[in-house]
Subunit: 367 residues, 2 copies
């Protein structure tokens, strides 16, 4: 068995890795998983790009939480992205905390963690790192790249940065730029982390992270992943294990208890500095920026076919953002199909049971 | 001149003040302002109720910030609520930090700040305290009570708690209950404050408040006061005093700089414990709760006329919440007029230049 392929892989690529911001990393480690078999002509590769707080464990259990892979509804035997048919790659993003080079990695030049010395990265840098991984794996061209949320930003960037390396692009619940409101919510999260004295300017020991600040950041972000209607349906004003309010500051309401749990469990599996760097990369993301705001020009050289999916109740990356991408792709003459799916579950819909989304992706991959 | 009337007034009412939660305050201080003259029959009194972080300085400069009163667009000479015609009262809410009894007040029983010993209060308690103030002022019946946001909650509660003391109710950009999403955002703010070590379980000295946590709470809340479209129009992705992003964690974007300023300036004028208690009061607010969720039954005994106003882009207390109130008032047989006004400014619209709102209120007060 080729040691490059399989679960829980990691590769360190020596030599300079230059970044969009001008800094240079002295080496690049990418932690990744592959599923299925690369065929003889290497034409069946699909790259899955993950969202802000996810990782390479798209279809295998998470090593820290033990939970099933985060997209087993889409990836796996009998699913649209079936390892029987496809060679599936999913890598922890540059800047992440699950094995790829990020702020918690050791700088080989001095043997210490990068922490706040880590350079600010971009979505484009994440994609460049993935391209290096594909070189290592012997994959010149992707049959498809698929991603939701920040994963969708990477998928769109793939088509722009490496037009001859991507056949199809599936971009779900995403945007071609971060809006003022998107930036605002991320800034709240960053300020919550940096306000925590345990953050210590970024130089916290791994076993003493700024847990309280990171939990608050996660709580604020988590609200944006859900819809008002979804929260009302799921929790409403129902109380948590009590018959009446306590007239205190305990989690009287189920929604409070749920949010606190989201915050606490997040700090078990995520690094605060990675959260700072990845949110920053997302805030910087604006495909049209190098083209004076003209998104169609950003897509001018693309050679891929595109499939865009949005969800009715997603207010983080609302349908209007997908429509903007579709219009720009149309103007650039790129083939694109687009569907807005009904869902009460807000932005998170793409990670939940979404049979219509699966049908759309399946049809697009077979087309 | 009667010392009860005028700017910057305060009255301490001795004796027990029982609260909805069962606790009892040993005395009650209300800080308030009045504008205009109470007529001979005391029939021209209007009570203005303030929102979460506002105060009694509705139409006179704020003593700490020096800024003009917060509703001078509505209250003042030539405005719909004109001191020439009306005797206008605005009081700092119970639980507040601008002079009324709240967590930063001294408990007369031991001479120490209440801090976290302060009992959890409700919107109903705020209204009861205002009624005590009216007794002191010799106002048996209000011509009208007017409020936006949390002020609207108080206005609605007035009609329910004291049906024979309120002629007209103007409730703007408000709701008859806090939704799961409303509670969720407040819980994020509370957790941000309580995560700040300076909070010290609530026992911080006045000159060493949990400023970082309170600033984060304010930033998160502030996003909910604006609309996505409003933020895009006001800031978009424009940079703050720079030609290109810094590839760092400074406030590169105007929206970041704006939010940070909102957080920092808020801590200059507001008490963290008050923020905890007042948000809790809002989360507990649900007029229908004592009536098994039947809001019409809550309004069964009202004798007031109602005017409801909502704004199209307000997603904190969206129009649907106002419509729910209108339907319940209709079912209860109460006279009600309702208008949804176009605005791109989100929840904050009621505090901004809103000539249509002014016309609506003016017409309602004259009708």
């Amino acid at each position: 068995m080729d040691p490059r392929f399989g679960l829980d892989r990691s590769i360190t690529l020596p030599g300079d890795f230059p970044l969009a911001g001008g800094a240079v990393l002295p080496e690049l480690t990418i932690a990744y998983e592959t599923y299925g078999r690369l065929n003889a002509n290497a034409t069946n590769a699909i790259l899955i790009c993950h969202a802000l707080t996810l990782d390479q464990y798209v279809a295998s259990p998470h090593p820290r939480t033990g939970k099933a892979g985060w997209w087993t509804r889409l990836v796996g035997a009998g699913k649209p992205v079936d390892p029987e048919d496809w060679f599936i790659i999913c890598a922890n993003v540059l800047g992440g905390c699950m094995g790829s080079t990020g702020p918690s990695s050791i700088d080989p030049r001095d043997g210490k963690s990068y922490a706040k010395r880590f350079p600010v990265i971009t979505i484009s840098d994440m994609v460049t790192a993935q391209a290096r991984l594909l070189d290592h794996l012997g994959v010149q061209r992707l049959a498809a790249v698929i991603g939701g949320s920040m994963g969708g930003m990477q998928a769109l960037s793939w088509a722009v940065q490496y037009p001859d390396r991507v056949g199809k692009v599936v971009a779900i619940a995403t945007a071609a730029r971060h809006s003022a409101q998107n930036i605002a919510f991320h800034e709240v999260g960053r300020q919550a982390i940096m306000a925590d004295p345990m953050w210590a300017g970024g130089d916290y020991p791994p076993d003493k992270p700024p847990a309280a600040g990171l939990a608050v950041a996660r709580m604020a972000a988590h609200i944006t992943y859900l819809s008002e209607a979804g929260l009302t349906e799921k929790f409403g004003r129902r109380l948590q294990n009590r018959a009446a309010v306590s007239f205190g500051f305990d989690a009287d309401f189920q929604v409070e208890s749920y949010l606190r749990h989201q915050g606490l469990s997040f700090v078990e599996r995520f690094d605060a500095n990675s959260y700072l760097y990845i949110t920053r990369a997302m805030d910087y993301f604006d495909l049209a920026q190098p083209h004076d705001g003209n998104l169609a020009r950003a897509f001018a050289g693309v050679q891929s076919r595109f499939c865009l999916v949005s969800f009715t109740s997603d207010w983080l990356y609302p349908t209007a953002e997908s429509r903007r991408i579709v219009r720009a792709l149309n103007a650039a003459g790129a083939p694109v199909s687009f569907v807005e799916l009904e869902s009460p579950f807000g932005h998170d819909a793409f990670l939940l049971d979404a049979p219509e989304m699966n049908r759309v992706i399946n049809g697009f991959l077979l087309s």
